[in-house]
Structures are given as C-alpha cells and as structure tokens.
Point group: C2
Chain length 377, copies 2
C-alpha cells in the first residue's frame, strides 16, 4: 500500500474540500482533489480557481505519490466506511484502490500533474493575528457585501490598514450600495495591505470564517497578501484567495455628516418588533415606515395582498417628529452584528441615510457602524 | 374583541395547517384557513381538497364568528408574537384585526362562507384503534407507494381487513410496481373497509403519521371510512382524506412462490455494506450485483465515470452459487422497516423477485414482508 490513514482524520480533511471542489464544472479536474503523500503527511488540495484550500493530514506513508480523484465521490465513500484504517494504493492508470475492512473500491483518476497548482508564498511573509478577531470582523461586515455578479467590485470585503494614535488599526468594510458595514479593530500590521486596501471576495472570506469555525480560544492564524492573492494559514490548513481587482467605492465620502437626530433603542426589542412588522412588508421592497415622536417610534408596513401592521416602541428620542422608511431586513442584519444591548441610530431627514452604532461607542479604539440608505414609502 | 387565544395554543394549531393550506394555488381560498369561534373553542380548518384538517383549540370567545385569512401569513405573524394573549376581532369587510402587546395587524380576508366544507361524518361510526399501531404500519408500507402521478392507483396505501383464526387482521400494502411492502397486524375491525380494501393517498397518509407524531403511549385514535373518504380523529384534530378511486393491483398474485434459496443476514451490517457499495452504483439505476456462494455474499457495483466497488459479507447460505441484481436503495428502504436484527431473504433465480422478511416471522399473527423485483446488471 502507498499510504494508510485513519478514517476520522481523512473525513475531516475531505469535508473541508467539498465547498471549493466541484463548484465549477467547466474543467473536469476542478471537481477533483489532489492527493499528495510523503514523509508522514497526506496533503489534500481543492480549488475553484478563486479559492484554493490545502490541508495537511497525518498518514502513514509507505511510498510517496500523487493522485487526483473526484472530491465528492471520495467523500461519499469515506463517509460510509467503518472507523478503521484506510489503505490507498496508486495504480498504473492514474486510478487509486481504496481498501478498508472488507470493502474494496477502485476510483477513476486524472493525471495529478494537470491539477492547477496554488500560488506560492514565503513562510516568513506571514503576519500573526488572532483568529477570533478575524472571524468577528468578517461576521460584522461580509453580510453587507453585494451578491450581484455585475457589481464585481462590491462582491467582497475591503481590508485596510491605518495608524491611529500610534496604534495599528485593521479595518474591514463591505457595501452593496444600499448599506455599508464598517469595523475597526486594533491589531498588529498585516503585511501586504496597501494603503488603499485590498478586496477579498465574499465567497472566499466566508470560507475563512468556516475554517476558523468555533475556535474560541486564543488561537492565532497567519495572514499575508501579495499583489494578487491573500494567504490564510489556520492550524494545518492553508487557504489561498484571489483578490478582487477593482476599485472599492470612496466609502468615507458616503458616511453621512450632520445626522443630528439620535435615538437610543434596546437592540433585542427592536429586532423582535422589526420581525413582526416586516411580516406585512412587501416581499420585494421589505420596507417599514418609522414615525418618530418624543420618546417613541411607530413602525408600520403595508402589503397590497395581505394587509397592514403597526407597532409602537418606546425609546429615547428628544428630536422633532420625523418619518423615514428603511428596508427591515437590512436593519435587522445590521442590528444583529452590533455587539451592544443598546444601539444608537442617527438620522437627519427622510431622504438621508441612517447610521447605527453601539451606544457604548469609543472613538478610535473599537469603532463600528452600519449605514443604511432610506426608502421612499 | 371577538376572541382571545394564547399564543402557544394558536401557533400549535396553525403549524398543523401549513402542510395542507396553500399546496394548490388554483383557488385563492385554498391558501386560506377557515377560523370559526364559538363557546370555548376556536376551530381551524385547512384543505387542499384532497386532505382536510380541522383542529379544535382552546380560546376565550366573546362573540361567535367566522373568518378566512391567509394560512401562511397568519402563521408567519403569530410565530413572531411574544408569548402573550392574542386578541382577534372580525371587521365588517371580512378582514380581521389581530392585536398582541403593542402590535396591531389588519389581515385581508375572504368570505368564510366560500371556504370549501369538509365532508360530514357521524360520531358513532368511528372505530377506536391504537395510534402507535397505525403509525408503525404506515412507516412499514408508505415508502413503497409510487410517486408517479400517472400511476394514480399506485399512489397510495391499501387498507384491507380480513379474519384469520377468529381474529380481525388489518393489512396495509403499498407498491410502485418495482417493489411491494405488506404488513398485517391483529386489530379490532375498522368500519367501512370493504373486502377488496380501500386506497388512501400517500400524501394524506403521511399527514396522519405526522399528526400521530411521537405519541408513544397507548393513545387511541378514531378511524372511519365511507365510500369516498377516510376520517382520522386524533386528540382534538380531525383529518379527512379523499380515497383513491382505482383498482389496487392483484398483489397476492405477485408474491413469489418457490423461492427456495434462503439467506439469513444481520440487518445493520447488510445496510452499512449496501450504503458503501452503492456509492459506486449508477445514479439512475442504483443497481448492486449480489454473488452468492456458501455462507458468503459478494456485493459489487460499477459506475462508468467513477469506478467500481465490492465487498464480501458473511451470512448463512446453504444453496448453490447464484448471481442476482437489485436496486440498492429499495433494499435499504425495505431493510430499514423490518423490525428484526436478522432478516431472511428468499431468492429463486436471477430473473425472479426476492422476498425480505424478519427472521423471527410467525405466520398469521404478525406478518410482514417486502418484495423487490430483480435487475439485469
């Protein structure tokens, strides 16, 4: 046998490959994964040419080798195997033979030399950052990126680096043109981020979030950017993402100034009310009307087929009466990523965007806000 | 207010309605449910004209009335409400006003008199049976019914009644022409089942299974059939199902005789092996080849794109060598409904159907078998 591997170890690695391998079916080899075994390791690689993942697994190698087989079929097979040792042998025709217990499988293979190689990198270029911090920042921004393929430059999250008060600040921003979410966190400098920032595609950045998973400890990860790619190292897995080659909008110019009407709302209560009132909003527009008066807000919605809804919520508001419409889902998604029991909403008039911030906002150190464009209702 | 109801009580009833209301969109009122309130009860009715469900809920009635509103929209709204009392008022234009806490909803309604009424029945016609027994029998048969709309008479489960050794036997049978599953259980006679049996549509019978749910106690249900409908009473819900007006095949004639080659297999081990080997079966045919020799069986499969698989399983077999092909999924589904650690498979030759039975089969009292047609591989 060329190598032996424990079923649990193998399935863990194969599971990670499923989200990139086989996404695009234009090139048959992209539905495959590359297996490379030498010394005490099996390396699995999968790619859709935008996101590539390479995973190192513990294996017992008898003779080094390479193979390329269907990512999905191999996963399906290994999933059904008993929790025992799996023996794999490369055959002369690029196929592999997989044997476990009394089961024997012959899997069709392609020439592993044809498998697209991932971009190369140098170990010393990586900056070390907290995995939890990166995951939190992704969660607070990626939802606001656009899913419309035609708006290519908005399909990602901007990573930018700046210096404030002698401290290195990492910023992530995403926008789809209707809303924007920004978060700043103090962090050591990540090498390769140019002044204007780099854009990482939403699909790829969500892959990173998945790989970080629920690791809540103080685990660290390595990040490095070259001119075309981002490299993310987490444990024994490396993810390489092709950067979006486009201009991110001048987002600092759209941050509204002069939003002098401030509301303070209890986040949980606001989210529940929005969920209720938005059941009567139209499916396409999802618009809810907010009517503000002193210390209270009435939310209302109208659906041409089903009827209408309204609800009054008490909140701190000292300004003049104001009516403004927003997309309820955008508001709920923004509220959900703000880590505070109380949220401040800053408004100007019915035609201007609103800003949401945590009420315990401390400028310059841990900054976060969401901007939402208004709707005419 | 016309009536008041607790949110939890309301959502429980509305949940049950979702599977029938709105299934067919040809008639707008079929996406609605009927609400009728009087004395201390709110009655909800939903129907797709084939399956109708009526549910009685506890409510505080101030003035009796009726309304018809969107089943799905009402469910969506109530789901988001706090766990408090919901107040409902019928308006002059057929709409209703729903108020809970600080939320007020106006829901568009249709004339409740236009809601299709469920067939009527007489309380004294119901036979009392064990709900668990009915659920078990449904689980053991309904999977084998056909989903092809063109084979209307095979789209259901046959209920038949017979007398064996002085005991009343209830039988359920389903077949899609490729396999058949039959179960007999001793039970009191259910009124309205003619000698040739009646056919209940698969969708409706699965609704009954859902309503019985996980009630594992000795709970009883009422069943009654008239010439066109089946009536099922469980707790405070009544389900009415239109029977299939067709001829069920002469299934007793297809039960193979002379299957003299008997295998005894350990069910769990056989299911695992089938799952593994079938990963290499073609998606359309799902065929696995069985090669029998003394006390062992080799299962094998071949996929033109991905490769092949084989596995040897030890089992008790005393007959001559034999090769036969079966659809792996049909075998797995049949094995899964046989309540026995050991299953007997009876075969004749490569062109004849196989029979699966529990190995602890006791004729006449608790009978069960599955028949599966062979495949040429």
């Amino acid at each position: 046998m060329n190598f032996e591997i424990d079923k649990r170890e193998f399935i863990k690695g194969l599971g990670l490959m499923q989200s990139v391998a086989g996404r695009k079916t234009t090139l048959p080899i992209l539905s495959h994964i590359l297996l490379e075994w030498e010394k005490n390791s099996l390396y699995l690689t999968g790619t859709d040419l935008e996101t590539g993942i390479c995973e190192e697994l513990i294996a017992k190698i008898n003779q080094k080798g390479k193979a390329s087989v269907s990512a999905n079929k191999l996963y399906e097979i290994v999933k059904e195997l008993p929790e025992e040792t799996i023996h794999i042998q490369k055959k002369d025709n690029q196929w592999i033979t997989l044997q476990c217990g009394k089961s024997i499988f012959n899997l069709a293979g392609l020439d592993p030399e044809e498998f697209p190689s991932l971009p190369t990198y140098q170990e010393e270029n990586f900056s070390t950052v907290s995995a939890r911090l990166i995951r939190e920042m992704i969660e607070k921004t990626a939802f606001a990126a656009s899913n419309e393929e035609s708006r290519y430059h908005l399909n990602g999250v901007l990573f930018a680096q700046s210096k404030q008060g002698g401290k290195e600040i990492l910023r992530m921003v995403a926008t789809d043109g209707h809303r924007l979410s920004l978060v700043d966190r103090e962090n050591q400098k990540i090498s390769g981020i140019e002044e204007k920032g780099i854009i990482i595609p939403k699909k790829g950045i969500l892959e990173i979030k998945k790989i970080i998973g629920d690791r809540d400890g103080e685990e660290e990860m390595g990040i490095y950017f070259n001119a075309t790619h981002g490299f993310f190292k987490m444990g024994k897995s490396l993810t390489v993402i092709r950067l979006i080659d486009g201009e991110f909008p001048e987002y600092e110019q759209v941050v509204p100034k002069g939003n002098d009407k401030k509301l303070v709302m209890v986040k949980e209560r606001m989210v529940s009310s929005l969920k209720r009132v938005s059941t009567m909003a139209s499916e396409r527009m999802e618009g809810v009307k907010f009517s503000l008066k002193k210390n209270s807000m009435e939310m209302s919605s109208y659906h041409q087929d089903f009827g209408d809804a309204k609800e009054e919520v008490e909140m701190v508001y000292e300004g003049p009466p104001l009516q403004v419409g927003f997309n309820a889902r955008y508001l709920i998604e923004a509220l959900n990523v703000i880590d505070a029991e109380e949220v401040v909403m800053e408004l100007k008039d019915e035609g201007s965007p609103g800003i949401l911030r945590p009420s315990s906002f401390t400028p310059g150190i841990s900054n976060q806000f969401c901007i939402i464009m208004p709707m005419r209702l």
